[in-house]
């Protein structure tokens, strides 16, 4: 909300500059977003006389003028059609600043310039360029009797102000007006607050009009009739004040209702009384949708339950939001009915939202205005209308007040204040701090103070709410340190946290770059990884590209890989840790939803790019398998990981019975979807499952280095092509017994010599016995056993 520095001065005697005031406002919770100068003293803008005008030699539309500035004659290039010899004109001289905002936020300062080759020492100004009006049709022509050289500020009544834009938090409806802001400043600076003098008359029993409230959403409706007003433009002081805070002057009556709203915080409406049928005001809801044309000429469909102000015929305004076209104050209006009401905040919020229309009035009603302000505001408006627009007001007011809001009392414990704020304030100090907020002390003792809470502070409902008032006015920056900001904690980091950080560390050590990808993807993209039944979708997506929760980290990797290949990358080596979501009976936090943290390692493109040391080589799945092996080795799980081929292109990794995830070659179909032209390999594991595996992992952290050397034995078998090395190894592991410590494959061969459709796989086995040196005699029977079962299970033949 825009607050005028000048306006505030009407209520408080401020000794602070606008900048100092802005700092103070921010520190008491009225956060200043911007400070802006309004208007200008037009220093350096003076009266000049046009002595001569000549056409510009290089530009048809420009004229070269000689202008007498009193003590010198200068040449000025002017583009206005109406410039003529003998005119007295306002001239912005070189060095003067005009209230014209430049792109960088500063104001235009005149410099000596050359326009199409002709020198120009200043500028002859139009009305709008001086901020004196909106006219831009040519330059401003002044009274010929003015003396040249006279400052413009001597001729015009120039209005200058500083506008402070503040962000009002939702708990402070009282600060949506100048008086409310002034009250806070007065409280913080211990100043006297002078409120406008308003004498509220008794409720009258006028027969000129009637007000009826037929809905519990209207707590109060005050009407006041003013007759025989003259509708015209507002006087300059009123226009200046409203323009300064960003309002557009309309006419004197409408301007006054806006003025009082910004002064006291009460939204007001003025009806053209003669257009109100039967002189009746009825506040009511309808149980059906109503079409209604508001004064912005929009025909609005208002849902059943919308609160309306009606006359004898029907709706004349949407209560608290906007008036109707028919009863709008116009130039021919003579009699005015002022509306000053309190509407239920929830009802106004609902209507405003339904109509997507927030007005100055609805903004205030929604937040909750003072329910006891209506009569004062109506009278204040009437007083100003009579002062500005003439006419005479009815003696009393009509005040229909079915729902009354009383002030309430709140008790504050000094002990609790100090406990919560960490202060050491006395009862008297606390009273002194909040004194300016118009909180009357009802009673007090050594620990408690009971305050009467005014109705303009609906946010003060509990003791803590009052403590906030003490804190903000005391200034949080002044609360002393207890030097307790650093604590000693014996609580260790959780295993989960350690796993997350170790996972990332290992990823980095293995040379992978971490990525963060979007967790909202399109339904189509999600379908590449899960079925429709498994997908979790948001009900209100931003757009269809971001409708579904990612069921896998693969999409993010493939998308990022593709993005980088399109930008000439050759090697993709990424990892990501992030949550994935699927519908599942195996719920984690919420029914039917499984949310887990996954880890992805992905390789795509070239392991080695073209280089003099060797040819470019693309990644293979074995590169990824070896990184994954390194990862599990780092976690201490590698020895117990079982790898099983799920199909030709994917391997399932498990620990005991826990399936941890998969390493796979990305299918050509999927690569085509992402427009990737390189072989791509992805490992995706569930960290939740890995965490579970770690709790079950009994591997010792240290075992003594074996005292006896290992016995190494190599052998090769010939098997049919279809038989996988993994199956052979699993069989070897099962049959070799516990002296087998390591197994690897050192040669794979196929060729005519071993028969068409066959392959030879050579294994290297390492045996260790902790108690003795093994020799061939002990290992041979093991090998025989192993080979025999390979022969039996896979028809393998030992290759000599």
């Amino acid at each position: 909300m825009k607050i005028s520095y000048n306006w505030l001065q009407e209520f408080i005697d401020l000794d602070l500059s606008p900048e100092e005031l802005a700092d103070k406002l921010t520190l008491i919770g009225l956060e200043v977003e911007e400070i802006e100068e309004f208007g200008s003293t037009l220093e350096g803008v003076i009266v000049g006389e046009v002595l001569e005008t000549k056409p510009h030699p290089n530009a048809d539309r420009l004229k070269v003028c000689t202008v007498d500035l009193g003590d010198e004659k200068v040449q000025i290039v002017c583009g206005a059609d109406n410039v003529a010899e003998g005119q007295k004109v306002p001239v912005a001289t070189v060095g003067s600043t005009l209230p014209i905002k430049l792109d960088d936020g500063s104001f235009l300062t005149l410099k000596k310039a050359k326009l199409r080759g002709e020198e120009s020492h200043g500028m002859i100004c139009a009305e709008d360029e001086l901020g004196l009006g909106t006219d831009h049709d040519g330059i401003m022509v002044l009274d010929p009797s003015l003396e040249t050289g006279t400052p413009i500020s001597d001729i015009f009544d120039l209005y200058q102000d500083t506008i402070i834009e503040i962000a009002i938090t939702p708990n402070r409806p009282d600060a949506t007006c100048h008086l409310g802001v002034a009250r806070d400043i007065a409280a913080a600076l211990d100043l006297e607050l002078v409120k406008p003098a308003v004498k509220v008359p008794e409720s009258s029993n006028t027969s000129d009009y009637s007000i009826e409230i037929e809905s519990d959403k209207c707590h109060r409706y005050v009407g006041k009739l003013v007759k025989n007003v003259t509708i015209e433009d507002s006087p300059k002081w009123l226009q200046d004040k409203l323009t300064a805070i960003g309002l557009r002057p309309v006419n004197n009556v409408v301007d006054i209702t806006n003025y009082v709203m910004y002064e006291l915080g009460q939204p007001l409406h003025a009806f053209d009384f003669d257009n109100l049928n039967d002189g009746k005001i009825i506040v009511k809801e309808f149980d059906k949708e109503i079409e209604f044309e508001t004064l912005d000429h929009i025909k609005r469909k208002c849902e059943a339950g919308t609160l309306f102000i009606c006359d004898g015929n029907g709706p004349v305004a949407i209560a608290g939001v906007m008036g109707g076209l028919h009863s709008e104050v116009s130039d021919s209006t003579t009699n005015i009915l002022i509306e000053s009401a309190y509407f239920d905040p929830g009802s106004i919020r609902k209507t405003s939202k339904q109509q997507t229309l927030q007005t100055d009035a609805s903004y205030r009603f929604e937040r909750g205005i003072d329910p006891n302000l209506q009569a004062i505001a109506a009278q204040r408006t009437a007083d100003l209308i009579i002062e500005v627009c003439g006419g005479e007001a009815e003696a009393g007011i009509t005040d229909i007040h079915p729902v009354k809001t009383e002030t309430h009392q709140l008790t504050l414990r000094k002990s609790y204040v100090n406990r919560l704020l960490g202060t050491d304030l006395s009862v008297e100090e606390i009273i002194q701090i909040v004194n300016g907020l118009e909180l009357d002390v009802v009673s007090k003792n050594e620990d408690t103070i009971t305050f009467e809470i005014p109705t303009f502070r609906p946010d003060l409902k509990r003791e803590v709410d009052l403590i906030e008032e003490v804190g903000r006015l005391f200034d949080y920056n002044k609360i002393g340190s207890k030097n307790q900001g650093i604590f000693v904690s014996t609580e260790p980091l959780t295993d989960w946290e350690l796993l997350l950080s170790k996972t990332r560390d290992v990823g980095v050590h293995l040379g992978f770059k971490e990525i963060y990808s979007n967790s909202l993807i399109s339904q189509k993209e999600a379908l590449n990884f899960v079925t429709e039944e498994q997908m979790i979708e948001t009900l209100n997506p931003l757009n269809k590209d971001m409708s579904t929760m990612r069921p896998s980290l693969m999409h993010g990797f493939l998308k990022s890989a593709s993005y980088n290949f399109n930008r000439k990358a050759e090697t993709i080596r990424f990892f990501e840790v992030g949550n994935v979501f699927v519908q599942s009976e195996d719920a984690t936090y919420h029914d039917g939803i499984n949310e887990q943290t996954h880890l992805l390692f992905g390789l795509s493109g070239f392991k080695n790019t073209e280089h003099w040391t060797g040819k470019a080589t693309p990644f293979s799945i074995f590169d990824l398998k070896s990184e994954v092996n390194a990862f599990f080795t780092k976690l201490g799980l590698a020895g117990n990981i079982k790898i099983k081929a799920t199909d030709e292109s994917s391997l399932t990794y498990s620990f005991k019975k826990i399936e941890l995830g998969k390493v796979s070659t990305v299918s050509q179909t999927l690569l085509d979807v992402y427009d990737i032209e390189h072989q791509t390999y992805i490992a995706e594991f569930s960290l939740d499952k890995i965490s579970e595996a770690l709790t079950k992992n009994k591997a010792k952290s240290f075992t003594a280095i074996p005292k006896f050397p290992a016995f190494e034995f190599d052998f090769a078998v010939i098997v049919e092509q279809e038989i996988s090395a993994g199956d052979l190894m699993n069989s070897i592991k099962t049959n070799a017994g516990n002296t087998l410590k390591n197994i690897d494959i050192f040669d794979v061969f196929e060729g005519k010599s071993i028969g068409e459709g066959n392959k030879s796989i050579a294994f290297r086995l390492n045996f260790i016995d902790p108690n003795k040196t093994l020799n061939i005699k002990e290992v041979e029977p093991i090998i025989q056993r192993v080979v025999k079962s390979l022969e039996k299970q896979f028809s393998a033949k030992l290759r000599s």
């Binding site: 704020l421 803590v464 770059k513 979007n518 009900l539 003099w612």
Partner: protein, 335 residues
Amino acid sequence: MLDKVEALKKEIESFPVSNSDELENFRLEFLSKNGKIQSMFKMIGQVAKEDKAAFGKSMNDLKNLAQNRFDELQSSFASSTTAERSATDDITLTAPLSPVGSLHPLTQTLEEMKSIFYRLGFTISHGPEIEDDFHNFTALNFPPNHPARDEQDTFFVRKSDDPKVDDLVLRTHTSPVQIRLMEKQKPPIRAIMPGRVYRNEAVSPKSYFLFHQVEALYVDENVSVADLKDTLITFAKLMYGNDVKYRLRPGFFPFTEPSLEMDIWWGSKEKGKWLEILGSGMVDPNVFKAAGVDPEKYTGFAWGMGVERIAILKHGIDDIRSFYENDIRFLEQFN
């Protein structure tokens, strides 16, 4: 026969060798399979039986002589002539690149924050990204008609008219983890809760529909604003340097009362400005009640801040979207 051996010996000794081409000729002449020494060996059949041993020995001497001369000459060429070096012996040639792993800049910022909090005695806790209405809103003292509960602000995953079935949303902040923590752990509690959050916001250089927050919570019997202040200031100093200029000002959040925001001065003394870096406050009694903590017995402070915002400030990044594009040219600047 022995004079032939003697002649060959002379020939070996006198064969002119002054460069590696001539050395190769030398090798072909004497040491190769069809060279003169091998050829002469083959003549052993023509040697008389009693001379065979002497012939064999002199032939071996001859072979050693030739081999030694060859080896000497070869090593002398290798050490004396640079011109003879292989092109790949140039150590200024480029080396192939090793893969360099890196943490995402947001992780790096988060790690920095975590390490500060860990130093301050805070542990770390986590919660789900899909959250129920109770944890995300109700328990945090959001009134039923609060704008944050609108579809314009929050992504809904499940919505039900049945009051017994809680709506599910993508959590809009990490504060629900506070509730989860207080539900399962008795005070004292001192933890931070990092994580991904979602807001239904249009994408622009300044805003994204998902981002990351870190929440901090401290609950004990006598936690005060003074403690909050001490912790905030210590954090700001560790994060932004000991001479960081800061201020605290009142703010408003449904789940804290009183609420405070912290600004730090960013930029030079003249041209800088106050920048909001975090929101904080004393845990609202209603939040304690919802989480089953006695608000008369315990007090506490909470605070939350955006990871992206801090990373953006730190690195001068101008487009928040660049965090999620994963452009290698972006990522490799944060090695």
